[in-house]
């Protein structure tokens, strides 16, 4: 499936699922004015074609384990002839701690998102595993200290909970 095959109603379906993957085919069908079977079939096609890459829970890990840390690590890389940055990106992808690898514009070439048990854990990971890789010229580690909003979900929202007053009818 190429992107040109994605219709306007497909976009709505994908938008809804991207926001809430737990919507059932029946609920989606009602909202999109189609049948449950049609929705289920379309989702299966998106899954088979890799347009839908997976379904995950969004976990507030800091409340599970206060030490758990996350960092963005920028890498300056010497590109390889023919393969550019791909070869190194593929090597980095294999490492378990790595959540994401992105080719970037700007002063650094790759950005690597790393999860660790602690800041120290991540710092050691960078020192031992990333900066020692062939082709890595420089690294810069940015720790995430607090998450205000992530993947469109607002964190620390206790203060901004429902404040609408109960106004009688209007």
């Amino acid at each position: 499936m190429t992107t040109s095959n994605v219709t306007a109603s497909d976009r709505k379906l994908l938008d809804l699922l991207a926001d809430d993957a737990k919507l059932t085919a029946a609920q989606l069908a009602a909202m999109l004015n189609t049948t449950e079977e049609a929705v289920a079939a379309r989702i299966a096609e998106f899954e088979a074609d890799g347009i839908i890459r997976g379904y995950q829970a969004i976990v507030d890990w800091e409340r599970v384990d206060a030490n758990k840390s996350m960092a963005l690590i920028q890498l300056q890389v010497v590109p390889e002839p023919e393969q550019g940055f791909d070869k190194l990106a593929h090597r980095i992808m294999q490492l378990d701690q790595v959540e994401g690898v992105y080719l970037m514009s700007g002063g650094y070439d790759l950005t690597v998102v790393v999860q660790g048990e602690s800041m120290r854990d991540i710092a050691l990971f960078v020192a031992r595993r990333l900066s020692t890789l062939d082709g890595v010229r420089a690294t810069m580690t940015h720790f995430i200290l607090s998450r205000y909003k992530d993947r469109n979900v607002i964190y620390h929202d206790e203060a901004v909970r429902e404040t609408r007053s109960y106004v009688f009818d209007d």
């Binding site: 609920q27 004015n33 609408r164 109960y166 009818d169 209007d170």
Partner: protein, 391 residues
């Protein structure tokens, strides 16, 4: 001891306080209530509109505005009507900016009604029309719409309520609480009766922008010969999620707007200045916000209607506003019993239909101005509630 009742105005003293308050009192004691009771968008005002308000404050624009509202805003309101509905209003004489649509409704009734005049009021509808008519010493004449007519007003129904004393028709579509809309073909027959009986129409179109389906809202003022017999009331609260800014407006024939302006001038002076600057931005650059919010409401609307019908709470498809009005008579409960039990047992707040007129008995109003997540969860709880009722 002062006997205060000797001092009270009889009309004011006679107004019934809302019987729904107690539901809110109960609901406010619970911390996991899903409230589908509030007639207020769950969206915050779009940021570029808030920014225009912030800029106005930052630049010290904190003075009164002209009584009728800033010319800049009245111009935009006039453009908006020409652009959306092909009806032209002169911004200098036919537009009045008010403190919410509510104030404009009050101004309009006070300006038109003499003691003893009959005011035809479509019900079920927003709760303010009857008390405001009574305060103006008019006689409210409820015109009941029914589920069989999809809660639309028909010419025949209207005719049955007209007497020589009939003067004003309060015409609230898209309707709160039913979600009913009047399409052009339905408006035409009403317009004919209005002209035949020389009535003036107060058309409350606060929910105009929340009309679903391919065909947009049609204002009754756009029908031939109706502009001169219609005062259209609209506002920013519902369309642009601006409830707290308190800004609405009325457009209509110059002589009526001029007299409404006098009442407004003495009671209110002028609408909030910074809100008016924000509203200019809304009218100029807010069309895409309306589309976005309407699309979101539409998804929830479809989910609610589909699920409620499956659960046996039949509801006709509401084509406007953000309410569904399911029939709950199959449960054997009254509207109030249904709402009370649902609130106590499942912590979901909805409003009994009879709050909007006696003919709303047997129905409840569910507002879907709430997140999809909450709508989903509320539906799950309503299902549990209905299952336990059956046992």
């Amino acid at each position: 001891m002062i006997n205060y009742s000797d001092f009270l105005n009889k009309e004011v003293a006679a107004i019934k306080p809302s019987g729904i308050r107690r539901f809110f009192d109960i609901a406010s004691e619970m911390d996991d209530v899903i409230s589908l009771s509030i007639g207020e968008p769950d969206f915050s005002t779009p940021y570029h509109i808030r920014e225009a308000g912030i800029d106005a404050l930052e630049q010290g624009k904190t003075w009164y505005s002209p009584n009728r509202g800033f010319m800049e805003l009245r111009n935009e309101i006039s453009h908006w009507f020409s652009r959306k509905y092909q009806v032209d209003y002169d911004p200098s004489t036919e537009v009045l900016v008010s403190v919410g649509g509510s104030e404009a409704i009050d101004l309009c009734l006070r300006t038109l009604v003499n003691p003893g005049d009959e005011v035809l009021i479509v019900v079920p509808s927003f709760v303010c029309y009857i008390p405001m008519t009574e305060l103006a010493m008019g006689i409210p004449v409820p015109v009941q719409t029914t589920a069989e007519d999809n809660f639309r007003l028909t010419a025949e129904n209207l005719r049955r309520h007209i007497t020589p004393k009939s003067k004003v028709l309060v015409f609230p579509f898209p309707n709160n609480p039913t979600g009913a809309v009047m399409r052009r073909e339905h408006l035409e027959e009403i317009a004919a009766v209005v002209k035949e009986h020389n009535l003036m129409v107060l058309s409350d179109e606060l929910y105009s922008e929340l009309t679903y389906g391919d065909e947009p809202h049609t204002t009754i003022a756009s029908l031939p010969g109706m502009k001169e017999r219609t005062i259209v009331i609209n506002g920013f609260s519902k369309a642009y999620a601006m409830t707290g800014w308190r800004l609405g407006f009325a457009v209509g024939p110059e002589p009526i707007i001029t007299h409404m302006t006098k009442v407004h001038q003495y009671a209110i002076m002028s609408a909030p200045t910074m809100a008016q600057y924000a509203a200019v931005e809304a009218l100029r650059n807010g069309d895409k916000d309306i589309v976005y919010m309407r699309d979101q409401y539409d998804l929830r609307r479809r989910l609610l209607v589909d699920t409620l019908n499956q659960l046996g709470l039949t509801c006709f498809e509401p084509e406007g506003a953000f309410y569904v009005f399911p029939d709950i008579r199959s449960t054997g409960l009254t509207s109030e019993e249904f709402c009370e039990k649902l609130l106590y047992s499942q912590h979901v707040a909805v409003i009994p239909g009879n709050a909007f007129g006696d003919c709303g008995e047997g129905f409840v109003r569910i507002a879907y101005a709430n997140s999809l997540e909450n709508v989903k969860e509320a539906l799950r709880r309503i299902k549990v509630f209905l299952d336990t009722l059956e046992k």
